[in-house]
C-alpha cells in the first residue's frame, strides 16, 4: 500500500530582545550561571510579571511575516506542570487566544510549490537549564542537578503550522523558509545548534487518497535543517513498516538521534499531561489596535518571498534565488555586486557555491569575512575581460574571503593573471608544437583528439596562466 505522510511543524524561536519576556533582566548567551536573574524570573514569592512591549512587537513582526492576522485581543495563560528548571512551576504562555492566527507561507521544492498554513504564533517564556551530574544524565538519576536560570523568562515564540506538509523534503523547505523569514525580520539569531530556534514535528501516515488522519507521532531533537529531513524520512519509513506489518502506530513522542539516524520513544514523562491552563490573572490582555498593527507592519523589511521574486526576475534559478532570499547576508552582497555591474548568475553561483562552502569550512558568517559586493563585481569583471580563468577566479575568491586583499591584488600576488594576447602566447605554443611534433602531425591530419593534450602542454608550460581559448585559436592557425 502507498502511504501519504501528513506533517505539521512546531517551531520555537528565542527572541533577541534586550530584556526578558516579563522582567528587565538581559537576554544574553554565555553569562555565568544565575547572573541574569531577578525576583520575577526566579519566581520569588510576591514577584509579578510585566509584559515586554518589544517582545510583543517582535512577535507581531513574525506573525505579519507569516501573513497572519494579529488578534486585537490576546491573552496569556498559565500552563501548569512541575519541573525544577521552571521557577514558578507554571509557564506563562498563550493558549486559546494567541497573538497571531491564520497565516501561511509558500515553499518551493523539486516536488513543486506548496502553500503551508500557519495555525498560530504565540508568546511564552523559556525555562531555565538543568545540568544533571552523575548517572545517566537524567533528571532524578544523578546525585545532583545544577540549575541555571539565566534562560528562564527569555521570550520564546511558538509557530505552529497546519498539517499541510506531505514529505520530508517539504518539511525541510518549510523549516528553511520559516528560518529565513525570522532571520530577515532580525528578531532572533536563529541558531539551531545553540537552540535559539528549535523544530518539533507531528507526523502521521495515511493510505494515499484517505481523508482522515492516522495516529500521529511527535518527533523532537532535530537540531539542524538537515536533521529535520533525515528524521522525517526515517519516521516515514518506520511508520510505513509498522502499518504494512498490520500493526498500529503508537501515539508517542520520539527523540531523533543524529548519530545513528533513528528515532526512539522518549521516556514517557509527559504521558497524558493535563496542563490545567487558565488565564494568567497577573497580566492584562494584550490589546493591539489598528494603529499599532500598521506601525509595525510598515516597519517590516522585505520578506524572502518578495526577494525571491526579484532574484528570479534577474534570471536566477529557483533554488539559488531561494537560498539568497533566506540568507539575508548573501542576498545583500549579491545585490551590491549586481548593483556594481556584475552578472547576476555568475555572482549568485559563486555565493551559493564557493562562498557558502568556504564559510561552512571556516565556521564563519559572511559579515566576518572580507568579501563585499564591490569585490565580487571586480572579480566578475576580471573574468569577463579574460584576465582570469574561471578556475583562477575561484582561487582568487578564497584569497579575498580570507583577507588577502582586493581581487586584483590577490590575482597579482598569486600570479593568476591570465595571458590571452597572441604575441605573448605564440612563442610558448610554438615551443610545445615543436616538442610534440607527432601529436601536431596527427592534428594536422585531422585527429582533433590530440587538441586537448596540446592545450594542456601549453597550460603547463605557462603555469596555467594561458587563456585556453587563445591557445586553441593559435594552434588552429598553425595547423592551417
Amino acid at each position: 500500500m502507498k502511504f501519504e505522510p501528513v506533517i505539521g511543524i512546531e517551531t520555537h524561536v528565542e527572541l533577541t530582545t534586550a530584556s526578558k519576556m516579563f522582567c528587565g533582566c538581559p537576554v544574553e548567551f554565555g553569562a555565568p550561571p544565575n547572573t541574569n536573574v531577578c525576583p520575577v524570573c526566579l519566581g520569588l514569592p510576591g514577584a509579578l510579571p510585566v509584559v515586554n512591549h518589544t517582545a510583543v512587537e517582535y512577535a507581531m513582526k513574525i506573525g505579519l511575516g507569516l501573513q497572519c492576522e494579529i488578534a486585537p485581543h490576546s491573552v496569556f495563560s498559565r500552563k501548569n506542570y512541575f519541573y525544577p528548571d521552571m521557577p514558578k512551576n507554571y509557564q506563562i504562555s498563550q493558549y486559546d487566544l494567541p497573538l497571531c492566527i491564520d497565516g501561511y507561507i509558500d515553499i518551493e521544492t523539486d516536488e513543486g510549490s506548496a502553500r503551508v498554513g500557519i495555525t498560530r504564533v504565540h508568546m511564552e517564556e523559556d525555562t531555565g537549564k538543568s545540568t544533571h551530574l552523575g548517572a545517566g544524565g537524567r533528571i532524578g538519576a544523578g546525585s545532583q542537578t545544577l540549575l541555571d536560570f539565566n534562560r528562564a523568562g527569555v521570550p520564546l515564540m511558538e509557530i505552529v503550522s497546519e498539517p499541510d506538509l506531505r514529505s520530508a523534503v517539504q518539511a525541510r523547505a518549510y523549516a528553511e523558509e520559516v528560518r529565513g523569514v525570522v532571520k530577515r525580520l532580525g528578531v532572533s539569531d536563529v541558531k539551531l545548534e545553540e537552540g535559539s530556534m528549535r523544530f518539533d514535528a507531528n507526523i502521521s501516515l495515511r493510505p494515499e487518497g484517505a481523508s482522515t488522519f492516522g495516529t500521529k507521532v511527535e518527533v523532537k531533537n532535530m537540531n539542524s535543517l538537515r536533521s529535520v529531513q533525515r528524521a522525517l524520512e526515517y519516521e516515514i519509513k518506520r511508520q510505513a513498516a509498522v502499518l504494512e506489518a498490520g500493526e498500529e502506530v503508537v501515539q508517542e513522542t520520539r527523540h531523533w538521534n543524529e548519530e545513528d539516524g533513528t528515532t526512539a520513544a522518549m521516556r514517557s514523562k509527559e504521558e497524558a499531561f493535563d496542563y490545567r491552563y487558565f488565564p494568567e490573572p497577573d497580566l492584562v490582555p494584550i490589546a493591539v489596535d489598528e494603529a499599532w498593527r500598521s506601525e509595525v507592519a510598515s516597519g517590516l523589511p522585505e520578506l524572502p518571498a518578495q526577494a525571491r521574486e526579484r532574484y528570479r526576475a534577474q534570471g536566477l534559478e529557483p533554488t539559488t534565488a531561494g537560498l539568497l532570499s533566506r540568507e539575508v547576508d548573501l542576498g545583500r552582497v549579491f545585490e551590491d555586486a549586481v548593483g556594481a555591474g556584475a552578472d547576476a548568475r555568475t555572482v549568485a553561483n559563486w555565493l551559493t557555491g564557493e562562498v557558502t562552502a568556504w564559510l561552512r569550512k571556516e565556521s564563519l558568517l559572511l559579515p566576518d569575512s572580507h568579501l563585499d559586493g564591490a569585490a565580487l563585481a571586480e572579480l566578475e569583471a576580471m573574468v569577463g575581460a579574460g584576465d582570469l580563468s574561471a578556475t583562477a577566479a575561484k582561487d582568487v575568491l578564497g584569497g579575498v574571503l580570507s583577507g588577502e586583499g582586493r581581487p586584483a591584488e590577490v590575482a597579482e600576488s598569486r600570479d593568476l593573471i591570465q595571458v590571452s594576447d597572441s604575441a605573448s602566447l605564440e612563442p610558448a605554443v610554438d615551443a610545445v608544437l615543436a616538442a610534440n611534433s607527432d601529436a601536431f602531425e596527427k592534428l594536422k591530419s585531422g585527429d582533433h583528439k590530440v587538441m586537448g593534450f596540446l592545450i594542456g602542454q601549453v597550460m603547463r608550460s605557462t603555469g596555467g596562466k594561458a587563456d585556453p581559448a587563445a591557445v586553441t585559436r593559435i594552434i588552429n592557425e598553425r595547423a592551417g
Partner: protein, 492 residues
C-alpha cells in the same frame, strides 16, 4: 497621662509634628504594649526591634530638622507576614517558608518606608491567607484582644489584633475574600479593602491573584485614609495596577450623608445573620436615614452564588500560585529519591491542612473536562455579580451590610468545620469578586462585649463616597470602647 500606644494615628501625627513626643518614645510605648499583650494575643510572628529603632531615630531626625515629613513619619506600622520585607523573615505563617529572607521589599513596604513610617514587625495570619480566624497559622493562633478565648478573625487576624490592642498604630493586611474587613470587624477597628488595582500587589505573596488586594487596618476612618494615601497609586511592576488618577479619599470625610442614596443588601440581612449584629446594622441604617440619606433595600440575587464561585476561583488560582513552593530554590526542603519525590515530600510537610485542601480543590477545578463546569462557571457567576452590582449602583451610591454574620467566635469553634468557617466571609466576598472597595467600621458591642462591624461598599474607584459614608457611620456610632487587654497598663 495617656499611654502613647492608645493614640490614634492622627493624634500621634499631631504629637510628633508638634514636638510633644518623639518617634522613639512612641515606638517604646508600642513595644511595651506588645510586651504586655503578646503572650496572650500572639499578634506578631516577628517583632523587628533593631529595624524599628533605626527607623524611629531616622524619623526623629527628619522631624527635628523640619525636613519634609509625611503624616506617617515616625508612625509604628505592622505588616501582615505575606508582604515581603527585604532581609526580614517572611513566612506567610507557613512552615514551607520558615526562615525565608526576601531580597526585596514589596511596593507597599517601600512606600511606607519612604513615608517615614516605622515597621514594627510581621503579624500572624492564616497560612497563605487562607482562613477566617488565624487558627490556620503554622505558628500558633492569634487571639482577640476583647476576649482571648475568641478568635481575632482572619486571615489578617494578627494585624487586626495588634492595631486593636495598640501594639501598632496601623497595620497592613490583604483581603482576598474579606481578610481585612472581617478581622477588623471582630476586633472593633476599621479595615478597608481598596478597589482592585488601586494598591500594587508587587511583593504580596499571592493567594488568589485576581482577588487579592492590600489595604489598611486602623483605629479610625481618617487614619485609614491617611495610610491608603501612602499606598495607592500606579506601580509599573504590577500589570493589574490602575494607571489612572487616584480618587480623593479625604474629600468627603466631613460631608455627611445628606442626599446620598444608601442601599441595604437584602441578601445580606436576616437569615444567617446573628440577631444582635442585624439589629446594630439596622439601627445604624436608621440613623443614616436620620442624617438625610435616602435608604432603600436593594436585591442582588447573584450573591447567593458568590461563596461557591469564590471557593472555585480562589483555590484554582492558589493551586498555581503556590506551585512555586517546591523546595528547589528557597524555603523548606525534604529530600527524596527523585526530584519529584523531593518536591512532593517538601509540599506534604510544608503545607498545613487548609492550604492542602484548597490546592487540591483548585487543581481539581482546573482539570481537563472539569474546567468549564467549575472554573468557567465560577467566572460566569463573577460576571453576574458584577452586573448585579452595576445595576445596584445605578440606583444607589453605596451599599451597606454587616461585615461578618457574627461577632468573634470561640477559638476552635469552627476549626473542624470548613463550611462553617467559609460562611464567615459571606458578606465580604462579593466585593472581591467584583473588585470593588469595601470598608468595615465598628458600630458597637454585642451582649458578650464583642465588637460589631458595619460594612460599606462602593463602586470601582468609589473610595471618596465610601470614606464619606464610613466617616459618618463612625461619627454616629461614637465607638470609643477599648478592648480589655489594651487597658493592661505597664504600671498596673
Amino acid at each position: 497621662m495617656t499611654d502613647l500606644a492608645d493614640l490614634t494615628l492622627s493624634e500621634a501625627t499631631s504629637g510628633l509634628q508638634g514636638g510633644e513626643m518623639t518617634a522613639v518614645e512612641l515606638l517604646e510605648a508600642v513595644h511595651r504594649r506588645a510586651t504586655m499583650t503578646e503572650a496572650q494575643l500572639h499578634a506578631y510572628l516577628n517583632i523587628d526591634r533593631p529595624g524599628a529603632a533605626r527607623a524611629a531615630v531616622a524619623a526623629d531626625s527628619a522631624l527635628g530638622k523640619g525636613a519634609a515629613v509625611s503624616k506617617l513619619t515616625g508612625i509604628p506600622v505592622a505588616l501582615k507576614d505575606n508582604l515581603v520585607t527585604r532581609g526580614l523573615e517572611t513566612t506567610c505563617s507557613s512552615k514551607i517558608l520558615a526562615g525565608y529572607l526576601p531580597p526585596y521589599d514589596a511596593t507597599v513596604v517601600g512606600r511606607l518606608r519612604e513615608a517615614g513610617s516605622v515597621i514594627v514587625g510581621k503579624t500572624n495570619l492564616d497560612e497563605f491567607a487562607m482562613g477566617s480566624s488565624t487558627e490556620n497559622s503554622a505558628y500558633g493562633t492569634s487571639r482577640n484582644p476583647w476576649n482571648p478565648e475568641r478568635v481575632p478573625g482572619g486571615s489578617s487576624g494578627g494585624s487586626a489584633a495588634a492595631v486593636a490592642v495598640g501594639s501598632a498604630l496601623a497595620a497592613l493586611g490583604s483581603d482576598t475574600g474579606g481578610s481585612i474587613r472581617q478581622p477588623a470587624s471582630l476586633c472593633g477597628i476599621v479595615g478597608m479593602k481598596p478597589t482592585y488595582g488601586l494598591v500594587s500587589r508587587y511583593g504580596l505573596i499571592a493567594f488568589a491573584s485576581s482577588l487579592d488586594q492590600i489595604g489598611p487596618l486602623t483605629r479610625t476612618v481618617t487614619d485609614s485614609v491617611t495610610v491608603l494615601e501612602a499606598l495607592a497609586g500606579y506601580d509599573p511592576a504590577d500589570s493589574t495596577s490602575h494607571p489612572g488618577a487616584v480618587p480623593d479619599f479625604r474629600a468627603g470625610l466631613e460631608r455627611g450623608v445628606a442626599g446620598l442614596r444608601i442601599g441595604v443588601v437584602s441578601e445580606l440581612s436576616g437569615e444567617g445573620i446573628d440577631p444582635q449584629v442585624q439589629a446594630a446594622v439596622a439601627r445604624m441604617v436608621t440613623s443614616l436615614e436620620g442624617e438625610g440619606a435616602k435608604v432603600t433595600e436593594v436585591s442582588l440575587p447573584s450573591f447567593e452564588y458568590a461563596l461557591s464561585a469564590y471557593y472555585l476561583i480562589a483555590p484554582a488560582e492558589c493551586s498555581a500560585n503556590l506551585a512555586r513552593f517546591d523546595g528547589v530554590r528557597y524555603g523548606l526542603r525534604r529530600d527524596g529519591d527523585t526530584v519529584e519525590e523531593m518536591m512532593a515530600n517538601t509540599r506534604a510537610e510544608g503545607f498545613g491542612p487548609e492550604v492542602t485542601r484548597r490546592i487540591l480543590l483548585g487543581t481539581y477545578a482546573l482539570s481537563a473536562g472539569y474546567y468549564d463546569a467549575f472554573y468557567g462557571q465560577a467566572q460566569r457567576v463573577r460576571t453576574l455579580i458584577l452586573n448585579d452590582f452595576d445595576s445596584a449602583y445605578g440606583q444607589v451610591d453605596v451599599l451597606v451590610s454587616p461585615t461578618s454574620p457574627t461577632t468573634a467566635f470561640e477559638v476552635g469553634a469552627r476549626a473542624t468545620d470548613p463550611l462553617a468557617m467559609y460562611m464567615s466571609d459571606v458578606c465580604t466576598i462579593p466585593s472581591n469578586l467584583s473588585g470593588h472597595p469595601g470598608i468595615s467600621v465598628p458600630v458597637g458591642l454585642d451582649d458578650a462585649g464583642l465588637p460589631i462591624g458595619f460594612q460599606v461598599m462602593a463602586p470601582a474607584l468609589g473610595e471618596e463616597v465610601l470614606f464619606q459614608v464610613a466617616a459618618e457611620v463612625e461619627r454616629i456610632a461614637g465607638f470609643s470602647e477599648r478592648p480589655a487587654l489594651a487597658n493592661s497598663r505597664a504600671d498596673i
